[in-house]
């Protein structure tokens, strides 16, 4: 009995020892595999992280803004992200110490429509969407007709800004009235308030909507345009920041536009690039505002259409009536 029991005990111990052996060996094997796996993983990871951070001295050719071709190591290239909120902030502030002013000489306008095309190109508009338009004017049946380019007047007392319920349209310190399309809710109060019909509404998807996707919104260019919001002439605020004349002014072939800073009492002709005194130009030629009786105080002056060098043909007259 005792023997048996001892035998059975022994057998049990044997069995147990066999079992513990297999567990131990299991752990041993597991340990070896695990260590190998860990080591392999670490090696792969370190290799991967080395690949990630290792200096990549492949040279890439880059064209700089001032038109120079330079080579830059590939690892030195960073994606540039435009800070839209900063752009918007700057766009709301405007240029300090400036009061921009435009003078349109009606005697020289021959309806070349280059200003309209340049403007539509810059602001991504369709041929029938206008920030500036040239109208054929005739005050009475017996007076001679003339052409009148009509941009936003950038009033010093803007009725459009007063009616905006969401502070989307605003006047800057340099006199320019702008629109923030990201804030605009499309109520069109401003369109109704503007006595010069300077504003347009994007009823349909804007032109180039696919190409402009993901582009940083520029408040001084209103690009990308946004469906369901209002848009209008911006005096090319983005160009003025660079010290350049607006798109329409510099594309006119007939010397119609003068643009400058009222604080410096000087305006520059967009065609001849000749700079003259603003006060003298207005005094000598009898400059005037559109609808001064409304008290809107426009920043656009007109010079009367005297000594015109052209005729308005009947055909063109009809065309403008149809528009």
């Amino acid at each position: 009995m005792d023997n048996n029991s001892s035998e059975t005990n022994h057998k049990n111990i044997d069995k147990k020892s066999e079992g513990s052996d297999s567990r131990r060996s299991f752990f041993k094997r597991f340990g070896v595999i695990g260590a190998a796996a860990a080591a392999g993983g670490a090696a792969i990871y370190s290799g991967f992280s080395y690949e990630e951070t290792k200096p990549n001295h492949d040279m890439v050719k880059v064209l700089t803004a001032d038109n120079k071709l330079v080579e830059v190591p590939r690892d030195q290239i960073r994606d540039m992200k435009v800070d839209v909120s900063r752009l918007t902030e700057l766009g709301r502030e405007g240029l300090p110490g400036k009061r921009f002013v435009m003078v349109i000489d009606l005697a020289k306008c021959r309806n070349a429509r280059k200003c309209i095309q340049a403007c539509q190109g810059a602001h991504h508009l369709r041929p029938y969407e206008y920030h500036i338009n040239t109208l054929t004017m005739q005050e009475s049946p017996n007076t001679a007709p003339y052409y009148m380019p009509k941009p936003c007047q950038h009033c010093d007392n803007p009725p459009c800004v007063a009616v905006c319920p969401v502070d989307a349209t605003f006047k800057r310190q340099d006199g320019i009235v702008l629109i923030d399309n990201e804030r605009c809710i499309g109520c069109r109060f401003c369109v109704a308030a503007c006595p010069y019909s300077a504003r347009m509404f994007h009823w349909e998807e804007p032109l180039f909507v696919e190409g402009d996707k993901g582009k940083a919104y520029n408040i001084e260019l209103n690009v990308p345009q946004k469906k369901g919001t209002v848009s209008k002439c911006l005096f090319s605020a983005d160009r003025l920041r660079e010290g350049k004349l607006p798109y329409c002014v510099s594309s006119c072939p007939n010397g119609v536009y003068y643009f400058g800073d009222e604080n410096q009492d000087a305006v520059t002709n967009g065609t001849t690039k000749e700079t003259v005194r603003l006060s003298e130009l207005l005094k000598v030629n009898g400059g005037y505002h559109l609808m001064p009786e409304l008290g809107t105080k426009p920043r656009v002056y007109y010079l009367p259409p005297k000594n015109r060098l052209f005729e308005v043909t009947e055909e063109e007259e009809k065309k403008s009536e149809n528009v």
Binding site: G94, A162, K171, P253, D265, T275
Partner: protein
Amino acid sequence: MKRSYLFLIIILLSVGRLFAQEWVVPVENAAKRSPFAFKDSIRQAGAALYMTNCKSCHGDPGKNNTVKLVPPPPDPASAQMQKNSDGDMFYKLSMGRGPMPSFKNTLSATDIWRIISFIRSFNDKYVQELAPSLAPGSTLEQVKILISMIKETNQVQVKISSVKDKVRQPVANAEVKLFAKRYFGNLMIDEAHTSDSQGIALFKFPANLPGDSKGFVQLLAKPTDETAFGEAKADTTLAIGVETYRPPLNEQRALWNVVQKTPIWLLLTFIFSVLAVWGLIVYVLLQVRAIYKSGSDNKKE
């Protein structure tokens, strides 16, 4: 046979019509020649200027990709362009006509010659004629221009000197223009004046020209004759203008900037009165509720 002759005549006539409006250059301008040789460095500078000023209409030279305009802008490599003398080209680039803009206010004479040197590089037969040897001493070296102001008479004095026989001497009989720098271009002051034997030219400065907040105006003096003086110019800032400070246009309170410009007392008064009215309404409602509650308590008893 007769018909083909007739056809030829018609073609000739129609081609003739194209050239009917000849661009006539005054004789003295057509004879003008560049004061310097068209070297590679000059040509390269001209190419860069061409790309920024001319390419948008005239296209790439020799590729016939000019913009479709009426009349069409000629390709610079074409015979029509190359048959012009250097003087013709200089005149046409400077003055402009119709859709061709005038560059006399945007490019210096040297820059225009640089562009012409670039245009000529597309003509293998071209041999440059330099300006007839300038009179000895007419090209000036180390030209120095000084701008100063005479406060009492409100005048600006421009003094020109150059080095001759290793001695600095004043330059007489030189035509000089004075400009005030403005944001989009240079405003000419007075008219062009000629320097006297002391090399001094006096300009009347307008009494009402605005300067910055301290009256400073940036002045620029340039001799008219660029062939003799090269690109010599002076750039000085003087306190000669009218002190001008105009407040930002959105500084004053107005109907259109009420949100930004509200005075604090008005804002606080408004907020407190709104709160007071709402507080009163809430108080009345609470009282009504208390009355209702006490009424329903009485019913239960």
